[in-house]
């Protein structure tokens, strides 16, 4: 059955969008990441213009990050101070990202840039996760964390504006979390993903945050950023299709309930291996779009 998207002004198969939402929900509750990396490229495959995929995804991200941050908040696993410092960067990143998006749209390269960035991100994260989880499964332990932290400590040591973060028991230059925030904000507004899968390891390895606080803090930061992004996308570009967002959110609500129930069976290194394979699978599919000769060399786009 087709559903006509009133703002994107096109018809898409309802069951596919709903299924996509379910997949996103399962992934986000099993692996604790947003699942936007699956939703945005998939919508673009289906012919939804990239601008609508990203704008709508910003709304759907509000619901997934809010439901995630809720649980962490109750357990006190959110470092508000650190998250807010990151926010300063990510809000700036969001605004810049929306401008970059408009510029790329104008030059007609937006789909390709999004595609290439996804290939780069998913490929590197998926690849390193695959390597790490394989190692962990084989050796039943991993000692990479401490080493990497030291490397980043050296790099970030001399930076100005040191700040105390008592909740995380950290003293680090404010430049570092702000920079991470900028990257996070750019990912939200250009790629339509919260960027948790990049921010979470970065906060562990680069900031040296305790693992218990990382997910909650990054979700808190993503929640505010994506709310602002959704606001800017609907006010400035009118590229938010609420019907599309609603179908995705309903699907992901169902998916997250399924995910919660199966999550006890998928844990630790095998879970990370599975996630790595999913990431690489999406990466491969996008890679094809970039490197395999398309059947039709020409594309058309109606403007105005």
């Amino acid at each position: 059955m087709d559903i006509y998207l009133p703002v994107a002004e096109m018809a898409v198969p309802l069951e596919v969008i709903l299924g996509l939402g379910v997949a996103v929900g399962v992934i986000s509750s099993v692996f604790g990441i947003g699942g936007g990396f699956l939703a945005t490229p998939f919508m673009v495959f289906m012919g939804v213009p990239a601008s609508f995929a990203v704008g709508t995804q910003a709304v759907q991200l509000i619901s997934s990050s809010l439901s995630g941050v809720f649980g962490h908040w109750r357990k006190g696993n959110v470092d508000i101070k650190l998250g807010s410092v990151m926010l300063a960067g990510s809000l700036f990143g969001t605004v810049i990202g929306i401008l970059i998006f408009k510029l790329l749209q104008y030059t007609g390269q937006i789909d390709i840039v999004i595609n290439a960035l996804y290939v780069l991100l998913l490929g590197s994260i998926g690849g390193s996760m695959l390597y790490e989880s394989f190692g962990a499964i084989l050796k039943r332990k991993h000692h990479a964390e401490a080493k990497r932290s030291k490397f980043w400590v050296k790099i970030t040591q001399g930076l100005p504006y040191p700040m105390m973060f008592p909740r995380s028991n950290l003293c680090i230059s404010a430049v570092v979390p702000v920079t991470l925030g900028v990257i996070g904000g750019l990912m939200v507004s250009v790629l339509g993903i919260g960027g948790g899968f990049l921010l979470v390891p970065a906060m562990i390895y680069i900031l040296g945050m305790p693992g218990t606080l990382v997910v909650g803090t990054s979700l808190y930061q993503i929640l505010i950023t994506t709310t602002v992004s959704a606001f800017l996308h609907s006010m400035g570009n009118s590229t938010v299709d609420l019907l599309l967002a609603l179908v995705l959110m309903v699907g992901s609500l169902v998916g997250s309930q399924i995910g919660v129930r199966i999550t006890k069976y998928i844990k630790g290194a095998p879970a990370r291996l599975l996630l790595a394979l999913i990431l690489l699978g999406v990466c491969l599919r996008l890679w094809q779009g970039l490197f395999i000769e398309p059947l039709e060399h020409f594309t058309t786009e109606v403007v105005e």
């Binding site: 703002v7 619901s63 809010l66 992901s252 490197f291 039709e296 105005e304």
Partner: protein, 256 residues
């Protein structure tokens, strides 16, 4: 469908009366089964039926019906391989291309009239004017032609342009119908329905109607708010998302 049958019957009833009135002047009259197409959330394309009659129908006459959508600016981009990647490398923007065009003929196109006459009346795919936004794009003829053909090919593929002319079907004494189908991805706006009556290669009569394609119901409301009251729209979106998020969190707690 009931409505179209009614119109069909009404037209049949009118037929003898009008043909007596003007016996020498051949005339064509058309009507639409529906004056408007409502694009709702369940919209997946629509069939458009045009009914009409020709007075003093004879063998030398032929009828053409065309359906034309609102015009829009279209960007055509060419991908080519740069450093292994397929990137958009070249582009031409065309001004005012009808986002939908289809036509139906009662006889072979070549038998209707001279090509020039058809072109003057906007009949057939080769009457579409492909005017590039940048006049310099006209300089390189083969390149211009390549882009023009690509646009036609892509739009034929999506159903916005026809591969060949449809058929005008005569169902009775001077009574005809033409069937068109609009794909789901059409733009909203006024669509032009035009009927032409040719006799021995000359245009003898022409009729125009407007078919209004517009969003209706919930779909129209959402679209209106998204564009006109975007502040309210943004807040509604954020609240819905927040509500769904909290619901999801509450359910997950139960599920554990």
């Amino acid at each position: 469908m009931n409505k179209s049958i009614l119109i069909f019957m009404a037209l049949t009833a009118l037929l003898p009366a009008t043909s007596y009135a003007q016996s020498n002047n051949a005339r064509v009259i058309i009507d639409l089964a529906r004056d408007n197409v409502d694009v709702t959330t369940g919209f997946s394309g629509s069939d458009i039926v045009v009914f009409g009659t020709v007075e003093n129908n004879n063998k030398d006459q032929s009828v053409v019906v065309l359906l034309k959508g609102p015009e829009s600016r279209v960007v055509v981009r060419e991908k080519s391989q740069i450093m292994g990647m397929w990137l958009n490398s070249d582009t031409i923007t065309f001004e005012s291309i009808p986002h939908f065009y289809d036509y139906a003929v009662s006889t072979r196109e070549a038998d209707i009239a001279k090509p020039q006459i058809l072109i003057d009346n906007g009949i057939g795919l080769n009457t579409l004017v492909f005017e590039p936004e940048d006049r310099d794009d006209l300089e390189d003829k083969p390149r211009y032609k390549k882009f023009q053909e690509a646009l036609i090919r892509n739009w034929q593929h999506s159903g916005n342009l026809p591969l060949t002319a449809k058929k005008v079907k005569f169902v009775g004494d001077g009574l005809f119908r033409a069937d068109f189908s609009l794909p789901a991805n059409i733009p909203t706006g006024p669509y032009q329905v035009e009927a032409f009556l040719f006799e021995k290669g000359n245009l003898v009569d022409k009729r125009e109607r407007v078919l209004e394609v517009r969003q209706a119901g919930l779909s129209a409301e959402i679209n209106r708010y998204a564009h006109r009251y975007s502040l309210i729209y943004a807040f509604v979106g954020i609240f819905i998302a927040a509500g769904m998020g909290l619901l999801s969190a509450a359910l997950s707690r139960k599920g554990r």
